[in-house]
Amino acid sequence: MAVPAGTVDAATPAGPATVGTGVRHRPGRRLPLLRNRKAMTGLITLGFFAVVAVIGPWLAPYDPGRRSADLLQPPSGQHWFGTTHLGQDIFSQVLVGTRGVLLVGFTAGIVATLLAVVVGVTAGHLGGVADESLSVLSNVFLVIPALPLIIIVSAAIPESGDLTIALLIGLTSWAWGARVLRAQTLSLRRRDFVEAARATGESTWRIIAFEVLPNLTAVISSGFIGTVIFAVMSQITLAFIGISSISPWNWGTILYWAQSQQALAQGAWWWFVPAGLAIALLGTALALVNFGIDELVSPRLRTSGSGPIRTPDGRTVRMRTGFTPVLASAPPQSRQPRRQRRRPTTTRRSSRE
């Protein structure tokens, strides 16, 4: 039994009667994402990594590749994250490596998302032959095993830098997003407001850009975040197994050296723990932002503001669709409680005068 959304709207009419008095503007009303605690945590962490990516190379106390006499030192005041078997400073390596990771992650994410939007929305909206051919294309890309392809291509290209890797990951990971967007667009294009736009003579591209795309924002952004996570993981995997060039530093390269020099067997935990933690933290931050977007889009998942409510008589109730919580149930015989309940409203009124 779905209760029509109109009932909620009906209770809060916004008309000329809306006087400014007593209307509190909550912070973050314009940007609901900022009110969501999960998304906020994720965004702050992400921002931290972004800052490190930009200024990390200048912050780094040492040249990450320079050897020194401090071989395989545990963390100390001089080398915060310790040193490698060649005396390289791991803290500097992590700082310098951040830029590559984020660059590849976000470039691949943007490339894949752009391709997914173009292919998916076009296919879903146009239908017919365009849909058929674009669907075939995305189906083909869907079954291409991405990682082996990247391994082969990056082996064939002699000097494969970050950008090559990013483009390769982006070009192989858009197909799922395209399929999801196509399905969403298929349902959107039959909605009344799209039909109305078509009837008023709006051009196809205007309909796509102004009527359809805004409704897909959430799907697109969560797809983007998912692709970024995938790209970061792929890049680190590639560096870890030594496929991509190991000359530019990134977290995967650190792990590659740690693994090839048997850091675990030597008990040099400081070699792989910082990079591993950084990867986990970045992944968590992206996932948190993703949760935030999900909750924003689907109010069913939204928990903010509807946690357990404590009633005056000490019970705890929950907001639940179909079972409206009852906060207080007054005994009907006594008229007294009714007066009492009214009093707070009257005092509030008089204070406003």
Partner: protein
């Protein structure tokens, strides 16, 4: 008057909790008698739908019931408080005792299932002991009740017209012989001819099956004709309540008067349609005193500061109440009006 089937006492419904809560329904007292049609009228945002969903506890979050009682009197047995029910009790209570026909009900049918599937599903869930043949017969019976040939039982929703779908929804509500049917603007999406036809049939059905109806609409003309009793809501409160013919003949509250003057009478002398100036109040910033005073042509000084209580006006018959300083419960009401 016969025995009550539903008593609403001091019902308060909020949207949200704490400081920012919007008080959508406040201190509503209503009694619905067996076999009676109680009409609930008011502008958009006056809280009529919120009241109906609040008393059935169907309000989606952030709606909460903040106080009051909703006493349901089953045909046999002790009265129960709907607000005190557990989810399991509510599930049993709904549909079998109280059925709801929603706003835009004709879109409530699932387009991929036959009507029969959707009707029989209800019977299967609520009457697990019934036989398949018995269920089918019952489904055909209710369809015939609302004027749909029984052979349409296996039709898909898209094969029926809007009016027929609406009838199917009403049939669905009547399937388990509820004591109370709540209708939330059930005919707004239909043309006036179909509206009349369906309401006429509903009135007959009600006499035959003796269920009570809580009928919510903003169309007061419809209510005057169709319901026994009318309650007018404004700003989350009931401002006037009376038998419908009496309300039509003599509206006491200026708001009711305004509502009545916003549609023309078919017979009798011509009168100017005035309507009500202004717009409904913002529930977040309600006017002081009587909520209607900024729009009221007869507003007195007392209206600005004090909330008029809902009570029986001293000069009037029993069974009608009004919340207006023009008709105080103690003094006669005639001389204050200019």
């Amino acid at each position: 008057m016969s025995s009550p089937v539903l008593e609403i006492r001091n019902l308060c419904v909020d949207y949200g909790v704490g400081e920012t809560a919007v008080r959508a329904v406040r201190d509503v007292d209503l009694t619905l008698h067996r076999g009676q049609v109680l009409g609930l009228a008011g502008e958009s945002g006056s809280g009529k739908s919120t009241l109906a969903y609040g008393l059935t506890r169907l309000l989606p979050p952030p709606g909460v019931v903040t106080g009051g009682q909703v006493i349901y009197h089953p045909p046999a047995g002790a009265p129960v408080d709907v607000l005190a029910m557990t989810p399991a009790q509510l599930r049993r209570f709904r549909w079998a005792e109280t059925a709801v026909v929603f706003q835009g009900a004709m879109n409530s049918l699932n387009p991929v299932h036959r009507i029969s599937t959707q009707l029989l599903d209800v019977l299967k869930a609520h009457r697990p002991t019934s036989t398949a043949v018995g269920r089918r017969e019952r489904a055909q019976e209710v369809l015939r009740l609302v004027g749909i040939p029984a052979d349409r039982l296996d039709a898909y929703p898209h094969q029926l017209s809007g009016g027929m779908r609406q009838r199917v929804m009403i049939a669905m509500a009547l399937l388990l012989e509820p004591q109370l049917v709540i209708m939330d603007e059930p005919t707004t999406a239909l043309d006036v001819v179909m509206q009349r036809q369906i309401l006429g049939e509903l009135a007959q059905l009600r006499q035959r099956l003796e269920f009570a109806v809580l009928f919510i609409t903003h169309d007061l003309s419809l209510l005057v004709e169709f319901s026994d009793h009318i309650a007018i809501m404004y700003g989350g409160r009931v401002v006037e309540q009376a038998a419908s013919d009496r309300l039509y003949q003599q509206a006491l509250h200026p708001y009711t008067e305004g509502l009545l003057q916003s549609f023309p009478a078919l017979r009798g002398p011509l009168r100017t349609l005035t309507g009500i100036p202004g717009s409904p109040p913002d529930l977040r910033a309600m006017p002081t005193g009587c909520a209607f005073h900024p729009r009221c042509p007869y507003a007195l000084d007392v209206c600005r500061s004090r909330l008029p209580p809902l009570g029986r006006p001293a000069d009037s018959h029993a069974g009608r109440t009004v919340a207006c300083w023009l008709h105080p419960t103690a003094e006669p009401a005639t001389e204050t009006r200019p």
